[in-house]
Amino acid sequence: MSFVHKFKILFSKNFDEIAYSSKHLFNFKKLWIVIFLLSSFVAIVPLLFFALIDYKVTQKALESEVVMKTSHLTSNTSRFVSFFLDERRLALEFIIANNSYEELKDRNNLNLLLENLKSTYGGFTDLGLIDSGGIQINYSGPYNLEGKDYSEQLWFKKVCEENKFITDVFLGYRNVPHLSIAIKHERNDGSFFLLRATIEERFINLLSQIEISEKGDAFIINDWGILQTSSKYFGKIFNRVSFDVPERSEETKVIKFQDSDKKDLVMGYIYLKDTPFILMIVKDSKEFSLPWKQSSVNLVEYLIISIIVIILWIVGITSFFVRRLKATDIRRIKNMQIAEHANKMASIGRLAANIAHEINNPLAIINEKAGLIEDKFKIQEIYKHDEKLLKNIETILASVERCGKITKRLLRFAKHKEVTVSNVDINEIINDVLGFLEKEAQHREIKINLDVEENLPNILSDKGKLQQILLNLINNAFAAMPEKGILNTSIYYNEDEKEVVIIIADNGCGIPPENLKKIFEPFFTTKNELGGSGLGLSITYTLLQKLGGSISVESEVNMGTKFKIKLPIKFEKNHFGEQDL
């Protein structure tokens, strides 16, 4: 049976369902749903819970990984940039320490120094000597800047105060983006001069050497948020960035924010020491959200498959157990019905005994009184001429006799005589019974076919009761058949069930379906006018139960009736029927 079919059966209103629905201990549909929901809840909720935790943990891990990577990259890059600037500042300090003012004023010497700086360190554009008045008194480089006055410029004032200074990137007189590194040197006479070098595209392109992912961006801004190098996200040099300048920190920090396009970004930054620069490394958060999304998709796939498997399993197991429970419950109800029926039969039996007793006493009085009157007619011949009265008396006595027969049969029905077990040859019994009816069969030209299996085993049972059972059934068959009817009797042994099966089939009038269920009930008869008591089949039923056997019937109106008797090969005294009746 397929699973789907089994599942359908669980909820279908089949015959049993309709017959027993009011007697079931459980509402199986409701039970199934409750078990299913509870099991699903218990199984799926922890799964969802752990999936959620996994989701969050993965998210956190990936985020912190990105934060860490960004932080490392920012730190490394800051060291690289700082080193670049420090190296060049120290080179200038070295030159200023090893060259006198006069030597620096010498154009050739300054040209030589610039050439040396370019070949040794690279990146330098020009070199200039500025006196304490802010005038560039010597200059080596591609521009014509000798004699320019820097006294009003901020960087000049700063370097005078701080002795060394690195400017942010600006256009200056040359109108080319550059930064300046200026060193102040005090002379013995108390005056001072400055050595200033500028760096152009080398600094501006410095960060292009940094290996960063496709969606990453590395750039430098100054304290006012002006770009000092070009940025992928925030535009070209000298643009103002769209976000607020982060708070000062000489330690690497990582923050998350959204740009003007509402794009989620992760940014590492650090203020470079002794410079006006803030190094920034920006990454698109998609970079980390992608693997995280992939991992989430995997998680959801795993979750869905798990839930489907769990639900299928729960449906299967719930259906299995509810079906078993239902089958058990149906068996229980059937047994209850058998017990109820047996109990009913026993109660009716006791009732029959009491009724018979109550009726028999007045019947006996009527019998004796009428008998006495009859005696006076017949024996004492006192009233022998009144034939009409005599006829009436005979009718009364005949009626009493008829009632007496009924009450005696009732009493037989109520009798609880112990079963006497002996080794019984069923073939012999059925031949005896058929012998009783031989005369009637001949008279009505009824044909009797007897088919007995060869080597039919003897059974341990009660001979007298079997005779009574078979006589009842064959009598009924005779009553149902017209003249020239056919009675088919067969007996065989069912080895699997260890029972002997007797089939008695007639081709008589049959039993209508509406009566078929009632035929084993006491007092049910359709032969009232023929003097049927309605106890024959009821007695048969009770006797068979006592013998541990069973009886079933099939019938079709005008086609005939077939009774099937099953008898255990070995009668067991503690059998259900014997115990409860």
Partner: protein, 119 residues
């Protein structure tokens, strides 16, 4: 043949006695145990026909009391059939042949009386 009929149903027992008398028996009737013992003292009965179910002493108890005093007396029981126990005891006490269920056929009773008498 002298027959003692014991049954609490006076109408029944008196009529039955009369019918037996018509058939040539010397039949007497009583409706309880005491009367039965008293009458048995006066007349030597061959057979007692006793109803099993009677108020006071049951048919079987009456039989025991009669048996103690009159060892030659034989017994037939009548019953309207009450309980299962009565039936079983009746069969044990009297045997199926001498245990009759009411209403009885007078000819059958006569036949049994004669058989028992001749045993």
């Amino acid at each position: 043949m002298r027959v003692l009929l014991i049954d609490d149903e006076e109408e029944l027992v008196s009529t039955l006695a009369e019918r037996l008398c018509i058939r040539g028996f010397q039949a007497e009737w009583v409706t309880d145990c005491r009367a039965a013992l008293a009458l048995a003292d006066e007349i030597e009965f061959d057979i007692a026909v006793i109803d099993v179910k009677m108020p006071g002493a049951s048919g079987f108890e009456i039989k025991k009391q009669l048996q103690n005093k009159f060892n030659k007396m034989k017994y037939i029981f009548l019953t309207g059939h009450g309980s299962e126990d009565d039936y079983e005891t009746g069969l044990t006490e009297a045997g199926e042949k001498y245990y009759l269920i009411k209403p009885i056929n007078i000819n059958e009773l006569v036949k049994i009386l004669q058989e028992l008498y001749n045993e």
